[in-house]
C-alpha cells in the first residue's frame, strides 16, 4: 500500500499534462483509461461487470485489475467527407487477442450534415452506453448497473452503420441502422469459454437530443450462428441415455444454440439540467432459445451538480420473464446427475436488485475520481450475473465498494 499513493500521484501528474497528439493536420492520437479498485463481500460468488468477464473479485482482496483499462484511438482525416477511426482497448479479458482488443476500425463517409455511412468495426447503438461503455470518464458512475448492462456483453459490429440526422423542434432527431456480424464471449467458473457468433446483427435506433434531453429507443435482432462450447457434448450425452429415460430427448431439444434468435428492445432517457441530472433505461431480452435468459431490466439514476462534485444515487433491477423448465418424470439414478445438469443450463436466471450511492469529483478537465458503494439483493436461483452464480448462490446480500480514476487525453 505504501507505493500506491506515489504511483497514483505520478499517474495523475502524467495524465494531467498529457493531451491529444496531433501528428499532422489530419492525424490525431488520443486515449482514455480507468484505474479501478474494487472490494466486495462476495465470497463463493465473484463480482464482475459483465458475463464476458472471467476475472472475478472476491472478498479476500482489493482488486485493481478487473475493471482497469486503457484505450488508444487514432483519428485520420482523409478529406472533409472521409475519415477513419481506429481504437484499441487493453483490459483483462478471457482471450486477449487483437480481434477482441480492436473496438473501432471505421471508414466514415459524411457527405453532408444529414448523412453518415460507416464501414468496418463500430459500436452498436442499442442502449445509451453501448457506444462508449469502456469510457468511464464519459458517464457518472464507477460502473454501469450490473442488472442492466451485465447481460449485455461489450460487443462490436463488423459491417455498415447508416445514420441520418435532421433538426426537429429545439433539437435533432437521429435515425440509425447498424447491420453486421460479431462474436462475443461468455465465461463462467467450471465451464468452457463460449464464443457466440452473431451473424447477422441488425439494430435500428431512433434518438432525440436537445440542450437538456437525450431520448433513445432501439430494436436489435441477433442471429446466433454457432454451437456453444460444451452444449453439444451435453446434448449428445442426453441423446445417448434416451433409451433409459425417454424425457432425455425432450431435454436435449432445449439445448440448442445454433440458428436461434435474440431480440433486444430498449428505451432510455437522459436529462442534464443546470443543477440536476437523471438517467433511466428499460430493456427486454427475448429469445427462441432456452439457453438465453429472457429478462426485463431497468435502472434510474439521479444526480446533483455541486461544482466539481456530483453526488448520485441509482436503483436497478432485473428479473426473468420466461418460466423455468421442469422435469416431467424422475430420471433414473444413473442419469440423474446428467439430467439435473442439463436442466440447470436451461434455467440460468438473472434476478436481483441494487442500490448504489456515490460521488464523482471532476478535479481536472480530463480526469475524474469516483467513489461508489453498492448493495445488491439476489433472489434464490437468480445470481447468474455473478461469477459462479449459476452453480452456487448461497449469498442473498452483497456490498461492493468501487473507487475509480477515469481519464482521457
Amino acid at each position: 500500500m505504501r507505493f500506491l499513493l506515489p504511483a497514483f500521484v505520478i499517474l495523475v501528474s502524467t495524465v494531467s499534462s498529457a493531451h491529444a497528439i496531433e501528428l499532422s493536420d489530419s492525424v490525431t492520437l488520443r486515449g482514455f483509461g480507468t484505474l479501478g479498485a474494487t472490494s466486495t463481500t462476495a465470497d463463493t460468488l465473484g463480482y464482475r461487470s459483465s458475463l464476458s468477464s472471467s476475472n472475478p473479485v472476491h472478498d479476500d482482496s482489493v482488486d485493481l485489475a478487473s475493471r482497469s483499462l486503457l484505450g488508444l484511438q487514432a483519428d485520420i482525416l482523409w478529406s472533409q467527407q472521409l475519415s477513419s477511426t481506429v481504437q484499441l482497448v487493453f483490459k483483462d479479458r478471457p482471450e486477449d487477442t487483437l480481434t477482441q482488443s480492436l473496438q473501432l476500425a471505421t471508414l466514415n463517409y459524411t457527405p453532408n450534415a444529414h448523412w453518415q455511412v460507416q464501414f468496418g468495426r463500430f459500436a452498436p447503438r442499442a442502449h445509451l452506453l453501448t457506444e462508449y461503455r469502456n469510457v468511464g470518464f464519459g458517464y457518472l458512475w464507477t460502473e454501469p448497473a450490473m442488472e442492466f448492462y451485465g447481460p449485455i456483453q461489450s460487443i462490436y459490429i463488423d459491417g455498415v452503420a447508416l445514420t441520418y440526422k435532421h433538426p426537429w423542434q429545439e433539437g435533432f432527431v437521429t435515425y440509425g441502422l447498424d447491420i453486421g456480424t460479431s462474436e462475443t464471449l461468455l465465461a463462467d467458473k467450471g465451464n468452457p469459454l463460449i464464443h457466440a457468433k452473431l451473424e447477422p446483427i441488425i439494430s435500428a435506433s431512433l434518438r432525440y437530443e436537445d440542450m437538456s434531453w437525450q431520448l433513445n429507443s432501439s430494436f436489435t435482432y441477433l442471429h446466433n450462428s454457432s454451437d456453444w462450447e460444451g452444449i453439444g457434448d451435453l446434448r449428445q450425452a442426453l441423446l445417448g441415455v434416451s433409451g433409459f429415460w425417454p424425457e432425455a430427448n425432450r431435454l436435449a431439444d432445449k439445448l440448442v444454440s445454433k440458428d436461434t434468435s435474440i431480440y433486444f428492445m430498449s428505451l432510455g432517457a437522459d436529462y442534464t439540467g443546470t443543477e440536476w441530472g437523471t438517467r433511466a433505461e428499460i430493456s427486454t431480452i427475448q429469445s427462441d432459445s432456452d439457453l438465453v435468459t429472457e429478462v426485463i431490466s431497468g435502472y434510474v439514476s439521479v444526480s446533483r451538480f455541486m461544482g466539481d462534485f456530483t453526488p448520485y444515487v441509482r436503483l436497478a433491477h432485473v428479473q426473468p420473464t420466461n418460466s423455468k423448465n421442469k422435469l416431467q418424470t424422475t430420471p433414473p439414478a444413473p442419469v440423474a446427475q446428467l439430467a439435473y445438469q442439463a436442466l440447470a443450463v436451461t434455467n440460468i436466471d438473472f434476478e436481483q436488485s441494487s442500490f448504489a450511492a456515490g460521488v464523482r469529483w471532476d478535479f481536472h478537465p480530463n480526469m475524474a475520481l469516483k467513489l461508489q458503494w453498492e448493495r445488491s439483493w439476489l433472489k434464490e436461483g437468480g445470481a447468474a450475473l455473478w461469477w459462479n452464480g449459476a452453480a452456487n448462490d448461497d449469498q442473498r446480500r452483497i456490498d461492493t465498494l468501487m473507487l475509480n480514476l477515469d481519464f482521457t487525453f
Binding site: 494531467s16 493531451h19 466514415n108 435533432f172 481536472h364
Partner: protein
C-alpha cells in the same frame, strides 16, 4: 505522504478555471453570408450535433484548449451547464468514433487567424474583436 498530498492539491489548484469577466464574442469569416446566429445554432455546432450553418453551408468550429478558462466560460454561458458535463459529453462522442471534435488552439490570436482564413470556420474570443478580418455573429454576456 503529506508531501505527495500537498503536491497533488497544488497541481489541482493550478488547473482550476478562472471565470472570465468580459463578454464572449462568436466570430465567422467576413464573407460568410450569415449576419447572426442564435445561441441554439452555435450550441449545435460546438456540441457536435450538427455540422452545417442554418443555410446549409459546412461549418468548422475552432475551440480553445481543453484547460482554458475562456472555454469553460463559453460552454457554461452557451449551454448553462458546468464545463465538467461538457467534457464528459465530448468524451462520449469522440470515443464512440462517429464525430470529430472541434480543432483546439491556444488563444484568441490563433482563433482569429484561422477564422479569417477559412470561410467555413467559426470561433470565439474574449471581449470585442480588434480586427475587420472576422465578423461577429453572437455575443454572450
Amino acid at each position: 505522504m503529506y508531501r505527495y498530498t500537498a503536491s497533488l492539491l497544488l497541481s489541482l489548484s493550478l488547473s482550476l478555471p478562472v471565470l472570465a469577466q468580459e463578454p464572449i464574442t462568436v466570430v465567422v469569416h467576413p464573407d460568410n453570408p450569415l449576419s447572426s446566429l442564435s445561441r441554439a445554432d452555435v450550441s449545435a455546432l460546438f456540441l457536435g450535433r450538427y455540422t452545417s450553418y442554418p443555410d446549409g453551408q459546412t461549418a468548422r468550429p475552432v475551440d480553445h484548449a481543453q484547460d482554458s478558462s475562456l472555454r469553460a466560460s463559453f460552454y457554461e454561458q452557451l449551454t448553462g451547464k458546468p464545463i465538467n458535463k461538457i467534457n464528459a459529453y465530448w468524451a462520449r462522442l469522440i470515443f464512440a468514433g462517429r464525430i470529430r471534435p472541434p480543432k483546439q488552439v491556444e488563444g484568441d490570436q490563433d482563433v482569429i487567424q484561422i477564422v479569417s482564413n477559412d470561410i467555413a470556420a467559426i470561433g470565439y474570443v474574449q471581449g470585442s474583436v480588434p480586427t475587420q478580418n472576422v465578423k461577429v455573429v453572437l455575443t454572450l454576456p
